[in-house]
């Protein structure tokens, strides 16, 4: 398992899952690709399908309509994979915690390895979270 994780560190393919979010975290994730932050120079690339992904970036409270989808995406992602909960909604439900559509938060549905709180977390915070996790792997 450790060997495989080490191999992961070369170039990370990231897949983004949005499960009932307000899109702010999603836009901050997209912002990472723009010239200002430009994570592609670190080898972090956005994958087009979960089957190619090493990292799952999940945003949003998981609402009842999305539960199966999130599980399906997790099954399709080859293990080992890292699940990152981006934003307060994915970490704990945020301000929507008490609603009737809440089926989350994310760690009730799939195992989560990294939590990046914030509403939304700044792109710098997202990068810092992923880098911190990579250091932990060492």
């Amino acid at each position: 398992m450790n060997l495989k994780l080490k191999a992961l560190k070369k170039s990370l393919w990231v897949y983004h899952v949005s499960a009932g979010s307000c899109n702010n975290c999603d836009i901050e994730i997209l912002d990472l690709l723009t010239p200002r932050f430009d994570v592609e120079r670190f080898g972090i690339i956005l994958a087009a399908s979960p089957r190619h992904a090493d990292v799952l970036l999940c945003t949003g409270i998981v609402n009842k309509k999305c539960v199966e989808r999130v599980k399906e995406v997790y099954e399709q992602t080859p293990k080992p994979c890292v699940v990152v909960a981006v934003g307060s909604c994915a970490c704990s439900g945020g301000i929507f915690r008490d609603g009737y559509q809440m089926a989350g938060p994310l760690d009730k549905i799939i195992p989560v390895h990294v939590y990046i709180p914030g509403c939304p977390p700044k792109p710098e915070a997202i990068i810092a979270g992923i880098v911190k996790f990579l250091k932990e792997l060492k």
Binding site: K64, K65, D98, G99, Y100, Q101, M102
Partner: protein, 145 residues
């Protein structure tokens, strides 16, 4: 504006509430609703905004909001009531095609039946949502219990 409305709607209006110069609320009977909407939307040319459904202690209330943009931005809301037991009202999809979604939503969340709606099925909630479980009703807690 009030005078124009009074003239066009005449005896359909049961009650008028003028909140301020730009917000007028007219109470009408639910059987006159289609006629009133036809006058306001087609004859007077107002813009349809949305429908608000509210549950009160002994009835359900529906507010149809229309905006007269070029006559000073006045919003006229038509207020109708239906019974608590088996709430239903005529669907207006024939008059206003854009009303289809909001009627579906109110049916789904509050349980008011829109008679004549072409497509009354679940919209925002899951397909397999429980029957007779209307989240927006007062008896249901915020977290759905």
């Amino acid at each position: 504006m009030i005078d124009k409305l009074k003239e066009k709607l005449k005896d359909i209006i049961k009650d008028i509430k003028i909140h301020n110069e730009k917000k007028i609320y007219l109470t009408i009977d639910k059987n006159d609703l289609k006629k009133a909407v036809n006058i306001i939307f087609n004859e007077m040319g107002a813009r349809f905004q949305t429908v608000s459904g509210i549950e009160n202690f002994n009835n359900f209330e529906l507010l149809y909001h229309f905006s007269f943009d070029k006559e000073g931005g006045i919003i006229v809301s038509l207020r109708t009531f239906t019974e608590k037991e088996k709430p239903e009202i005529e669907s207006l999809t024939g008059l206003i095609p854009g009303i289809a979604w909001i009627e579906r939503e109110i049916w789904e969340l509050l349980g008011i039946n829109f008679v004549g709606h072409p497509n009354l099925k679940h919209f925002l909630l899951r397909e397999d949502w429980e029957e007779n479980y209307y989240p927006l009703r007062k008896g249901v807690k915020t977290n759905g219990k």
